[in-house]
């Protein structure tokens, strides 16, 4: 079993199942903060999927996309928490 087929048939399905489970929490989420951390986790898993995909295809350019996504995830969570706290303060 080569590394590429191992990644394609084992690692990527595990990540896909994780994405599905997080999506269930994103839709169920009883509170808004649950949805915010579900989005944060979705983007983190997305970074991992992009990385694994760049290993599987052998193209290293995808790592740049992962870097930009990591930046955007942090800014998104910070903005969400700032405005949630402002809304609660009245």
């Amino acid at each position: 079993m080569t590394l590429d087929s191992y990644i394609d048939y084992v690692i990527l399905p595990i990540l896909a199942i994780s994405l599905l489970l997080v999506f269930i929490r994103l839709f169920k989420g009883p509170d808004i903060v649950d949805r915010v951390i579900a989005l944060d986790l979705l983007i983190t898993i997305g970074i991992s999927v992009i990385t694994v995909y760049s290993i599987s295809t052998g193209k290293s350019t995808f790592i740049d996309v992962a870097m930009i996504l990591a930046l955007i995830a942090f800014l998104g969570t910070i903005a969400f928490s700032y405005y949630i706290e402002k809304r609660g303060r009245k």
Binding site: I11, I37, T51, V52, S54, A70
Partner: protein, 140 residues
């Protein structure tokens, strides 16, 4: 040999991310979900990026980028988790009934968002004196 290392790193990383996903689905309240999610997802993403750094050994730029992303993830994930947990505490997110201690109860001033430390709750604090001239006003 390098393929075995990459495979092991990928497997551990993917399993850590799976644990994070199961945890965010199964944990009973927001704070436990946050506590499970951030650490496991950071570990999993870091290990997968490390395996990418091993896979492209002849390109120094890719290794540097992967290590930079790992550094950035480890730097920013706790900060984001702390901020979102603080906001959740302010808007009164319910806790699980099995949670034994709430050390922050009564410690936050809901009006000014000021945290009192030590064993004196915020209602027992003396009223703030008027700032004198020439001293730094910390409440600005």
């Amino acid at each position: 040999m390098i393929n075995i290392i990459i495979g092991v790193l990928c497997t551990i990383g993917a399993l850590a991310i799976l644990v994070a996903a199961i945890g965010i689905l199964r944990m009973p309240d927001f704070y436990l979900r946050l506590s499970v999610t951030v650490k496991a997802a950071t570990l999993g993403g870091g290990l997968l990026l490390l395996s990418a750094a091993f896979y492209f050994p002849e390109e120094v730029s890719v290794t540097t980028k992967a290590l930079a992303i790992i550094f950035f993830l480890i730097l920013t994930a706790p900060v984001a988790a702390h901020l979102i947990a603080r906001s959740a505490y302010f808007i009164g997110t319910a806790q699980w009934e099995g949670t034994a201690d709430d050390d922050l109860a009564g410690m936050y001033d809901k009006e000014t968002h000021q945290l009192s430390s030590g064993n004196t709750p915020v209602n027992a604090l003396p009223p703030k004196a008027e700032p004198e001239l020439g001293t730094d006003d910390e409440t600005v």
